[in-house]
C-alpha cells in the first residue's frame, strides 16, 4: 500500500511542470475581526474569491470593498491564521455554491460544505453545478403571474392569506409567537399536497442556536420531510460573514431547482439577524453607518435577495421560487427600520401577535393586519368559495367582539354572529406540526361558514372537526375528499355530497 502511494507521488512529482509567469499578487496590509485589507490586485472583481496564502495553508476571502488603493475583504475561513504581508492571489471566480439533486436531504453551510457527518455531498462532481450566490433576478419578460398555490396546511393562512408559488410572503412577529412553526408546517405539508408538483424546500437558519437547528432537522427527519428539504445553516456561533452569505446560498440552491423547472420554497429564518450580521461586517469594513448604524444599502441587500423569488414563464421552464422571509419584531413594533423595509419589498405579510398567542389562538395570525397581495390569484376554486365568506364573517365578528361580555343584552342576529365568529375562531386553531391537507381544510371551513357548527358547543368544535374528517375518510373519501383533491373545485355535485355527509354526521355526533 505505502509502495503504491510513494509510486503515485513520484509520478506526480515527475510530471509536475512549473511555468514561471508574471502573476497578479496582493499583500495583506491590515487584518482584524474577520476583515482583511489588501494592497495591490487592482483588477479584482467585486464579490471575487481571493486566496490568502498563510503559513498554515490557504484561506479564502471575499472581495467586498474595492477602494482606490486597497481592497476590503471578508475572510471566509480561519481569520486568526492571516498575518500582515501574507500574499493574496486572484481566482477569477465570483462566490458560488455547488448545487445538484444530491444536496436534498443535507445540512450544509453557506459555502456548500456538509455539516451533517454524512460524507461528501456530490459523489460525482459532474452532476453538480456552480451557482453564484449573487445573481441578477429574472427579468419581467422571463416571469409570469403567480397561479399555483403553496398550501401551508394552516387553515387561517390558506383561506385568508393565501400564498402562491413564486410569491414573497413575509412572516413577521415578536419572539416566540410561532414564526418558525408556520415555516416548518409549510414544509411538512408539502408531502400532503399530492394535487400539485412536489416542492423542494430550503430552510436557511441565520444566527440561530445550534440546538434549535438540530431540533428542526430532527422534526423534518421524523416526518420524512428531509426527502425534499435542504438546510443551510449559519448558526449564532458562525462568523458574521457566513451569516451574511447564508440567505444568498439558500437562494442559489432554490434557483438551481427553479431553473430545472421545479417549484422551490426557501425560508429565510430570519432576516433581522441577517441585517445585524451585515451591519457588523459593514462597520468593520468602515462603510458609513446610517439609520440605527445599518449601512445605506441595507434595503438593497434584502430587495435584491427577495427579488430573485419568481414564477418563471413556460419558455423559461415553468419553475418557481417562493420566498418566506421571517422578521422578528421588538414589542410588536412593525414600524421599525428593517420590518418596514421588508414589508415594502414583499408581496404581503403574515402578522403574528403575542396577545393572540397567549390567548391560545395558535397560529397567532392577526387576520386584520395580515395580507397577501398576489396569492388570491393562486387560490383553488374550492378554497375561494369558502374563504370569501369566512373573511367577511370574521371581520363582522371582530367588530362585534367588544360586545361579547354583555352578550345577554344583544339582539338575536348579533348574538348569532358572535357565536358563529367564536366557533370559526375555534376552528382556525391548530396545533403545532399538524398541517391539514387542503381538501380537509375546505370541507371543515365549509361546515363552519354554513352554520353546521352553530349548535356545537365551543369546547367541542375540535372534536367535531376530527370526527367529521374521520367520518369523511371512511364514508365519503372518493365522493368528497378525493373529488376536491382531483378537481380543486367544490362543484354542485360535491357540494351536495358534502351537505348530505354533514347532515348524516350531525345525527350521530
Amino acid at each position: 500500500m505505502s509502495y503504491d502511494i510513494i509510486e503515485k507521488l513520484k509520478k506526480e512529482i515527475e510530471g509536475f511542470k512549473h511555468d514561471v509567469t508574471a502573476e497578479n499578487v496582493g499583500l495583506i496590509i491590515e487584518a482584524a475581526d474577520g476583515i482583511a485589507k489588501i494592497s495591490g490586485l487592482s483588477n479584482t472583481l467585486s464579490q471575487e474569491i481571493l486566496i490568502i496564502e498563510t503559513e498554515a495553508g490557504d484561506v479564502p476571502c471575499l472581495a467586498s470593498n474595492l477602494e482606490e488603493s486597497s481592497i476590503g475583504s471578508i475572510i471566509l475561513g480561519d481569520f486568526e491564521k492571516v498575518k500582515i504581508n501574507d500574499r493574496v492571489r486572484q481566482t477569477g471566480q465570483v462566490l458560488s455554491i455547488k448545487v445538484g439533486e444530491e444536496i436534498i436531504g443535507r445540512v450544509v453551510d453557506p459555502l456548500g460544505r456538509p455539516l451533517d457527518n454524512k460524507g461528501v455531498i456530490f459523489k460525482d462532481e459532474k452532476k453538480a453545478e456552480n451557482y453564484p450566490l449573487e445573481k441578477t433576478a429574472p427579468s419581467v419578460i422571463d416571469r409570469e403571474s403567480v397561479r399555483t398555490p403553496v398550501h401551508t396546511g394552516l387553515k387561517a393562512i390558506d383561506s385568508m392569506i393565501p400564498v402562491g408559488r413564486g410569491q414573497r410572503e413575509l412572516i413577521i412577529g415578536d419572539r416566540g409567537t410561532g414564526k418558525t412553526a408556520i415555516a416548518l408546517d409549510t414544509i411538512l405539508n408539502q408531502i400532503k399536497d399530492p394535487g400539485r408538483t412536489q416542492m423542494v424546500c430550503i430552510y436557511v437558519a441565520i444566527g440561530q442556536k445550534n440546538s434549535k437547528i438540530a431540533k428542526i432537522v430532527k422534526v423534518l427527519e421524523d416526518a420524512g420531510a428531509m426527502k425534499y428539504t435542504c438546510i443551510v445553516s449559519a448558526p449564532a456561533s458562525a462568523p458574521a460573514a457566513l451569516q451574511y452569505l447564508a440567505p444568498f446560498a439558500g437562494c442559489a440552491i432554490g434557483e438551481y431547482f427553479m431553473d430545472k423547472g421545479k417549484d422551490a420554497l426557501v425560508i429565510y429564518d430570519d432576516l433581522s439577524k441577517h441585517a445585524q450580521s451585515y451591519r457588523e461586517l459593514s462597520l468593520l469594513l468602515r462603510r458609513p453607518p446610517g439609520r440605527e448604524a445599518y449601512p445605506g444599502d441595507i434595503f438593497y441587500l434584502h430587495s435584491r435577495l427577495l427579488e430573485r423569488a419568481a414564477k418563471l414563464s413556460k419558455e423559461k421552464g415553468d419553475g418557481s421560487l417562493t420566498a418566506l422571509p421571517i422578521i422578528e419584531t421588538q414589542l410588536g413594533d412593525v414600524s421599525a427600520y428593517i420590518p418596514t423595509n421588508v414589508i415594502s419589498i414583499t408581496d404581503g405579510q403574515i402578522y403574528l401577535e403575542s396577545n393572540l398567542f397567549y390567548q391560545g389562538l395558535r397560529p397567532a395570525v392577526n387576520v386584520g393586519l395580515s395580507v397577501s397581495r398576489v396569492g388570491s390569484a393562486a387560490q383553488t376554486k374550492a378554497m375561494k368559495k369558502v374563504a370569501g365568506k369566512l373573511r367577511l364573517e370574521l371581520a363582522q365578528f371582530r367588530e362585534l367582539q367588544a360586545f361579547v361580555q354583555f352578550a345577554s343584552d344583544l339582539d338575536d342576529n348579533t348574538k348569532k354572529k358572535i357565536e358563529r365568529g367564536e366557533r370559526l375562531t375555534e376552528l382556525l386553531k391548530q396545533n403545532d406540526r399538524e398541517p391539514v391537507p387542503f381538501e380537509k381544510e375546505v370541507v371543515i371551513l365549509y361546515a363552519g361558514i354554513n352554520g353546521y357548527l352553530d349548535d356545537v358547543p365551543k369546547n367541542r368544535v375540535k372534536e367535531f372537526e376530527n370526527k367529521f374528517i374521520d367520518f369523511l375518510e371512511k364514508m365519503r373519501q372518493e365522493k368528497v375528499l378525493g373529488a376536491i383533491q382531483k378537481s380543486n373545485e367544490l362543484n354542485e355535485e360535491v357540494e351536495k355530497n358534502l351537505k348530505s355527509a354533514l347532515e348524516e354526521f350531525k345525527k350521530i355526533f
Partner: protein, 123 residues
Amino acid sequence: MKYSPKSYAVALSSVLEKSKEEKHVFTNFLKTVKKNGDQKILHKILDAFKKIEIKKHGGSHIKIEFAREPLKDQLKSITKKFKSQDWIETSLNPALVAGVRVTIDGEREIDNSLARKLHKLFK
C-alpha cells in the same frame, strides 16, 4: 485635522519639485509631521512618497527577494534587466527555500522560488 500618508507624500513631492533647497524642505517636513503628532505614520508617508517619485520619473518599484545571499555577478545580471528609472530593492528571505522572487510595484510578481513550486505541487 488628520492627514493621510498619501496627502503628506503628495504635498512633499510637489514642494520639492518647486524648491531647490532639499535639506530645508525635508527639515520643515519632519517638523510638520512632529507638530501634527504623526511620527507613527512616517514610514507609510515615506512609502507613499517613494511610489509617487518613482511614478513621476516613469519607473517602477522592483523588489527582488533571494533565498540566499546572491553572488555579485548574479545581482548585476538581474539588475541590468531593469530601467535606470526603476527603484530596485533587494532583500534576503529564507522562507523562499531556494530561488528568487521579483515583485513589480507590489502588484505583479515573478516567483521562481522553491517554496512556490512546492506550494503548487501540493495544492
